[in-house]
């Protein structure tokens, strides 16, 4: 178990290293001259020289990268060009709104996915299977930003008590997290249904039935408990996708979170802020994946022995 955990942490570090390399490329390698990007096209050569000296742009690339990495490890992600504030400060301020949205959406998608998978698993039959497959494929295919917009349309017309955007209490979480959750819920329910179909054929299910347990009990305590495990791993892997959805959902609902911050950064070509949000999101994904690994080990004792 300890070996496994060390391996996972090492992989997390590798992911972050990769993310730092990519963000470094975004900031210092791709733009023809970062100094011009900062000072503007009309800056005089003297100013540009000073900026180059300050940022260490006159040094070899690998030296620049190591310095950048060192600063990032100390939590210093530079200053935003557009907002003239420290990037880490901005990120910390926006984090709670995104965390609330992500946790709500994740919970909701797992709940709805489990429910859908159970219903599909219980009432198996050719016609219904095809219907459920179509439904889940449709949910997966819906663009999240459109679903969010349609929710806004519906809320504006019929559900007057729901806020139309912004982060203001629990009620404001309903629409964005539902919009974000439905796609993954469709995916999870299909996976769960497939797992259930596999588990139901196993001997211990037959034993449980032969003991005279009620079908509901067999389904919930025996089949589901075993079929749901892979879903945990899947949800962890899906976290990166969730963050992509977060960017779009936050833009639709004017949600004051990291996704909206990243969108503004891209819109203003605010390079330090772009780098910071990409790097921080990668950190979130790495942490989420580690938590899922731990959760999995707790749920499935077999992995603890390995």
């Amino acid at each position: 178990m300890l070996y496994y955990l060390i391996k996972r942490i090492a992989f997390g570090a590798l992911v972050l290293l990769g993310a730092s390399l990519i963000t470094f490329c975004i900031a210092f390698v791709i733009p023809a001259d970062p100094a011009v990007a900062i000072a503007g096209a009309k800056a005089d050569p003297h100013t540009l020289a000073i900026i180059r000296g300050q940022l260490g742009l006159d040094r070899p690339l690998y030296v620049q990268y190591i310095r950048y990495l060192g600063r990032a490890l100390h939590g210093d992600l530079g200053r935003s060009y557009a907002r003239r504030q420290s990037v880490s400060g901005l990120i910390v301020a926006r984090f709670p709104a995104t965390a609330a949205l992500a946790v709500c959406a994740m919970t909701l998608s797992l709940l709805l996915g489990t429910l859908g998978g159970l219903v599909a698993g219980a009432y198996r039959g050719k016609a219904l299977d095809n219907l459920l497959l179509t439904l889940s494929l449709t949910l997966v295919s819906i663009p999240v930003f459109w679903l969010g917009t349609m929710f806004l349309v519906a809320a504006a017309a019929y559900l007057r008590w729901l806020p139309l955007g912004g982060f203001d209490g629990a009620r404001s979480l309903i629409l964005p997290s539902l919009a974000l959750a439905l796609g993954s819920a469709g995916y999870y329910s299909r996976i769960l249904q497939a797992n259930l179909a596999e588990v139901v054929g196993q001997d211990y299910i037959r034993v449980a039935r032969a003991k005279g347990l009620s079908p509901t009990r067999v389904m919930l305590y025996h089949a589901l408990a075993n079929a749901i495990l892979p879903l945990v791993t899947l949800a962890g892997l899906d976290f990166a996708g969730l963050l992509s959805g977060v960017v779009l959902t936050e833009t639709v609902f004017n949600w004051p979170g990291l996704g909206r911050l990243a969108f503004e950064a891209v819109f203003n070509l605010d390079i330090p802020l772009i780098m910071g949000t990409v790097l921080f999101s990668s950190l979130l994904i790495v942490v989420a994946n580690l938590l899922v690994d731990l959760l999995y080990a707790w749920l499935d004792p077999r992995t603890r022995l390995a």
Binding site: G18, T134, S282, I285
Partner: protein, 271 residues
């Protein structure tokens, strides 16, 4: 690929994909109006759906239906070519990793895993913004973040083949590594590649739609579905149909390729 008869998933998905190709190819003949010209005298207000304009007109008086039909062009071009580039990278990486093993596999798969873990849309946003949005930059960036899943599947498939008799026989006959991979392994993983191509296209279409919704799509006046949703956001109270139809078009296209992918998949693993 087994039987010649199509299953219903392939039929519906294929019909959708085909309809998109027809719309894109013959847009000028099918679209009732010019997508970039004002055809309705609405003085800055979106017009509701009517007999003359089935999907309504937008804030500039342009016919939404015609814009949707022309929008199929950009979506298909970006979606399909990004898929093709992503498939090329993914198949090459997966094939090499599975075939050579050892260090090659180690390095290629760690790169794949790292890329798979990073937030795709966020990376794509950052790259497109820095490179400036254009057909080429969008296409390349989307394929750059989309090849990883393909690489993993192809590697697994290749691994399951390398010790099979026909590979061993070819190897014993002195076939070179390149010949083994291209003439012997590739044809045998082709069915998987076809499945992945269909599923990847739905992914690249969604990513392209997301980018253009964020204002990082192919620049105007080229009609694009994602940007149409974005532009109509401010009218969600007064003109909800304006956002409804372009989103539906995205859903239609993405669902089509997903159905096609699952149809191919079912053909390989009948339930």
């Amino acid at each position: 690929m087994g039987r010649a008869r199509l299953n219903w998933l392939e039929m519906v998905g294929g019909a959708i994909a085909l309809s998109l190709v027809v719309l894109a190819l013959f847009a000028p003949h099918i679209a009732p109006h010019d997508p970039t010209q004002a055809v309705a005298q609405t003085f800055g207000d979106p017009g509701p759906p009517s007999l003359a304009f089935p999907c309504g007109t937008d804030q500039l008086g342009r016919d939404v239906l015609s814009r949707l039909i022309y929008g199929a062009r950009v979506s298909l071009i970006v979606g399909v070519s990004a898929m093709a580039v992503a498939m090329t990278i993914g198949v090459a990486a997966g094939l090499c990793a599975g075939f050579f093993g050892g260090w090659t596999e180690m390095v290629l798969m760690r790169i794949t895993d790292v890329m798979l873990t990073l937030p795709g849309l966020l990376l794509a946003m950052a790259f497109v913004a820095i490179l400036r949005p254009s057909l080429l930059s969008i296409l390349l960036v989307i394929s750059l973040v989309s090849w990883t899943g393909v690489a993993r599947v192809v590697r697994a498939e290749t691994l399951s083949m390398t010790s099979r008799d026909f590979v061993l026989a070819a190897r014993a006959l002195g076939a070179s590594a390149g010949r083994l991979m291209i003439r012997h392994l590739l044809p045998n993983i082709a069915p998987t590649i076809v499945v992945m191509a269909a599923l990847s296209t739905s992914g690249t279409l969604l990513l392209d739609a997301g980018l253009s919704f964020l204002g990082l799509g192919v620049p105007p006046p080229t009609p694009s579905w994602g940007r149409m949703v974005e532009e109509s956001q401010i009218y969600f109270r007064t003109a909800p149909w304006l956002a409804f139809f372009p989103g539906l078009a995205i859903l239609y296209a993405v669902l089509g390729f997903n159905l096609l992918g699952y149809g191919f998949l079912r053909r390989r693993r009948p339930q």
